[in-house]
Amino acid sequence: MKIKGNQLGNTIREHRFASNRMTQEELAMQVGVSRQTIVSIEKGIYNPSVVLALKLSSVFKVPVEELFILKKGK
């Protein structure tokens, strides 16, 4: 999703695969959201709140900056 000239990318999919091929459903259960919310975050359709981003980073035990990357837009 674009944020005024910037674009927010994420590495959730890569981290899920690195964590024993965790499914979207399992991740959704762990952070307390629906699977579709995880799908939308991975696709970049939806930018999660700070709380959800922190929950996701605590599941993968990585800093938030490693999960979400602010790229410069085209």
């Binding site: 259960m29 959201v33 629906s34 919310t37 939806y46 999660p48 709140s49 959800l52």
Partner: protein, 245 residues
């Protein structure tokens, strides 16, 4: 604790939206045809739970669901508002006559359809949302054609004719969407044009919102899904062909 776990497991996204949509449509139909008190069922099914969620009284949905709900509420409010202005302008100018019955018949489907169409397309991708709405519309129109042909004794020929015109094209696009979303989307746009002209929808906004408008949105949703999928596959191909540093 068990109830909390169950609530977490079943987020009610699809189930409650579908149930709300059906109860709303059933309540509206029964309210107009049988007893006006059934309209209360429509209001409760369609708007009470979402309102409680928006106010934060009910906390069973996550943040993305709530954001989708908010967008749906704003879009539905705006479209209904525009339509109220349209009624006021055409009514005062003497172009169209509006009475209580026609206002109810037009406003309720417009509000409900704009609300659910926005929510579904906001929350799911174009293909899934399109299929879900196609399914609702199919069930609604199959029931309508069956009841109108056999309930009002119009006969089997009338049933065949209504089926060919109304819901058979939708069945074809519904099945095609699983294999060829782009073709299905283009066909859906064609069906939208046909139904819009056939049902004289420009003079009957409620009819437009019950069939042609959802068809237009579903068609665009299928095409958008195809476009997104081809863009994703192109970018993933580019990633795999790029030489590693």
């Amino acid at each position: 604790m068990q109830i909390k776990k169950l609530l977490q497991k079943y987020k009610f996204t699809s189930k409650w939206s579908i149930a709300g949509f059906f109860l709303g449509a059933a309540g509206f139909g029964l309210g107009l045809g049988v007893n006006p008190w059934f309209l209360i069922l429509s209001i409760i099914a369609c708007f009470v739970l979402p309102l409680l969620r928006l106010l934060g009284i009910l906390n069973d949905w996550d943040e993305f669901q709530i954001i989708s709900l908010k967008k749906a509420a704003v879009v539905s409010y705006t479209i209904t508002g525009i339509f109220i202005f349209y009624m006021a302008i055409t009514g005062r100018a003497g172009l169209l006559e509006w009475n209580t019955e026609s206002i109810i018949m037009n406003l309720i489907p417009i509000t409900i359809m704009s609300y659910y169409l926005t929510y579904f397309f906001q929350f799911w991708d174009g293909l899934k949302a399109g299929r879900l709405i196609s399914g609702f519309i199919l069930i609604f129109w199959i029931l309508f054609t069956v009841l109108s042909a056999f309930g009002e004794n119009h006969g089997f020929t009338s049933f065949i004719m209504q089926s060919l015109v109304v819901w058979l094209p939708l069945v074809i696009t519904f099945i095609l969407s699983y294999y060829f979303p782009l073709i299905s989307g283009i066909l859906m746009l064609g069906i939208f044009v046909f139904h819009f002209i056939f049902f004289d929808a420009y003079s009957q906004p409620s009819v437009a919102f019950l069939l042609p408008v959802p068809e237009l949105i579903i068609g665009l949703g299928y095409i958008k899904h195809f476009h997104n999928r081809s863009r994703e596959s192109t970018s993933s191909q580019q990633q795999t062909t790029e030489p590693s540093p």
